[in-house]
């Protein structure tokens, strides 16, 4: 069974190997042993309650329990911006109007903002190309919401996700070209790498201090604001199905959208239920329901996907599934069921 679980200290080798599979672009997951070991340790301390608020963050791996193959990662930062400031642009509206002159113009302004300080952030998702088949990416991403649903009091009221912005067919970000490049004078990838590795002081030192009139920028840059990279579109769709929305915050480098939500409004938080485990063969019912199932453990949290739905307060797992999820008959599991749209 493919499960998503909290990282263990022993995962570092597998993480370094997995990080080799990333191409350029994913700046938060590089084959840097020291950084990965630190991240795993930080997650351990968070689970153990030893981490302070500014550093708390969870880190998960996706593992095929049949082979022990580690094929994906994802994370949750508990409260962003408590150490290094968390920067975004807020796209706000100003109206320049004069009734006497018959002028009424709505303009958009980009304001540097720290609005998302203290939000939880879902981040660092990477899935090996070897596993990019139906449902696996969804499991990896949504397992985080199962974790949040199980441990809501470990998270703040609001949550966000930053998505990669629009890049043109030449791999250039029109927004970076029109704005950031003038202020930062380094290449986009370098800026992105530095900022995602905690070296954020340059962001504050070099960024525009006054609001920027969006309407005065070149069309290509204006059009890129809040637009997702084409490769990230499925991730956006998944997050939106979960209840996250674009609320006029964008990345300061590529103007990619930040999606936001109250944690209590997450679909998984609202709709998942706790059920008792029943071990058995999956009965050949006519139900084609699919479910995410997780145990209710903290350090040994595990989440997987299977078929079936909760019936009479119980959920049927095969013996193999129960072992993979580290549960036994009568234990509690959290279940989120979805039904295919077409009948």
């Amino acid at each position: 069974m493919i499960v998503v679980r909290c990282t263990q200290p022993g995962d570092v080798d597998a993480l370094v190997a997995l990080a080799q599979e990333t191409g350029p672009g994913l700046t938060t997951f590089k084959p840097d042993r020291g950084a990965l070991a630190a991240r795993v340790e930080r997650a351990r301390r968070t689970l153990a309650g030893e981490a302070q608020a500014f550093e708390a963050g969870y880190f998960f791996v996706m593992e095929d329990t049949a082979t022990g193959d580690v094929a994906g990662v994802c994370g949750i930062e508990t409260e962003v911006g408590l150490e290094q400031p968390f920067y975004n642009y807020r796209v706000s509206t100003v109206v320049h109007a004069s009734k006497d002159m018959g002028v009424w113009t709505r303009m958009s302004l980009l304001n540097i903002s720290h609005d998302l300080t203290g939000y939880a952030e879902v981040c660092s998702l990477f899935l090996s190309p070897r596993y990019r088949t139906a449902g696996v990416g969804g499991l990896l991403s949504r397992s985080r919401f199962m974790f949040i649903a199980q441990f809501t009091d470990r998270f703040p009221q609001r949550l966000c996700a930053e998505l990669r912005g629009h890049f043109d067919e030449n791999g250039e970000s029109p927004f970076w070209d029109a704005v950031g490049s003038h202020f930062y004078q380094i290449d986009f990838n370098e800026a992105d790498y530095l900022s995602s590795h905690g070296k954020k002081s340059f962001v504050a030192e070099l960024m525009p201090r006054y609001p920027v009139y969006l309407d005065l920028l070149p069309d290509a840059a204006q059009r890129a604001v809040g637009v997702t990279h084409k490769d990230t579109a499925p991730a956006r769709k998944m997050l939106e199905a979960e209840g996250l929305r674009y609320e006029n915050h964008v990345d300061i480098f590529d103007a990619g959208p930040v999606l936001e939500c109250h944690t209590t409004d997450l679909r998984t938080v609202r709709e998942s239920v706790v059920a008792r485990v029943r071990i058995g063969d999956r009965t050949q019912t006519d139900s084609d329901a699919k479910s995410l199932v997780s145990n209710t453990l903290l350090e040994d949290f595990r989440c997987g996907a299977t078929t079936g739905a909760v019936e009479n307060g119980a959920f049927v797992l095969t013996a193999e599934e129960a072992a993979a999820l580290r549960v036994k008959e009568g234990d509690n599991v959290r279940v989120l069921t979805s039904y295919p749209r077409a009948k």
Partner: protein
Amino acid sequence: MLFVRPARLSDLDELERMARAALPVLHSLPRDRRALETRVALSEDSFRAEVEFPGEEFYLFVLEDAQTGRLLGTSSIVASAGYSEPFYAFRNDALIHASRELKVNRKIHALTMSHELTGKSRLTGFYIDPSLRNEANEAAAHLLSRARMIYIAANRKRFSSEVFSLMLGVTDDTGASPFWDAVGRKFFGRDFEQVEAESGGRSRTFIAEVMPSYPLYVPLLPGEAQRVLGEPNEGTLLAYDIHLEEGFEPDRFVDIFDAGPVLTIAVGKSASASSSELRTVREGASESGAPYIVAAGGAHEFRCIVAGLAGTRADGAALTAAARAALGVEDKDTVRCVPLHQASGELQ
């Protein structure tokens, strides 16, 4: 002999002729006869008044051909720009964006709407007859333009200690301003001329109030708009150069509509103040010497001409009968003399 003097109500016909010929329209020289008459009357009152500090005064000068009595140009001074409403300009600020870690140190210019020039004295209303717009008659343009600074330097109490002058910005072949297209048009959605016409004689201040209130980062503007920033329109190049020769500085402000240069100067540092000398008039044949602007009269009755003067201050000012008549001076009178051109090397 051309000379500059204050305008009079009896000049009204000639002034109206020039107001109608001036393109673009001069705000200080209205085409409407009644409005024009009001302006000239205000100017007469201003020259006549005893002034302790600048207020609503307006000073209108004319360039007259002494032989024909024909007027060939105008120039004027608004004692206190934006006396009743704020005067807007973009201040060109340099912001330093530096990161030691990245070894980046960059000066970024931003244009900020500013009221700083409100209340300062402003040179305006420069118009010179097309027959004088050529190299051979360059001295006439200098005389007409710089007469104002000479008057200001000789009558400091009437004006602010800093003076400014707005030049028309660059327009393309179709008359469109690339700066307006990149900035103002985004706020108004139409041509500047159209907005101005629709504002129905209201001041530019009115229009300014709809303009951007946050600073505009220059590097984020389209290249075309950046290129015309602070650049004078071709038609105003001579006037621009004359201002520079006076010592005006071009870089601190630009016009909020077409980004034309707003030139500023501290009166004390102007050539008219720092290079002027008083000489005693003596009768003489027209001597060849360095060209000077020679001015006579006090605050109430001001005249100036261009004349060649030889020697130094001690040699006095040898002036022909025609020159003396134009200035209204006699032998032994004192005149203020300012070199027409600054010695090379002093130029910026």
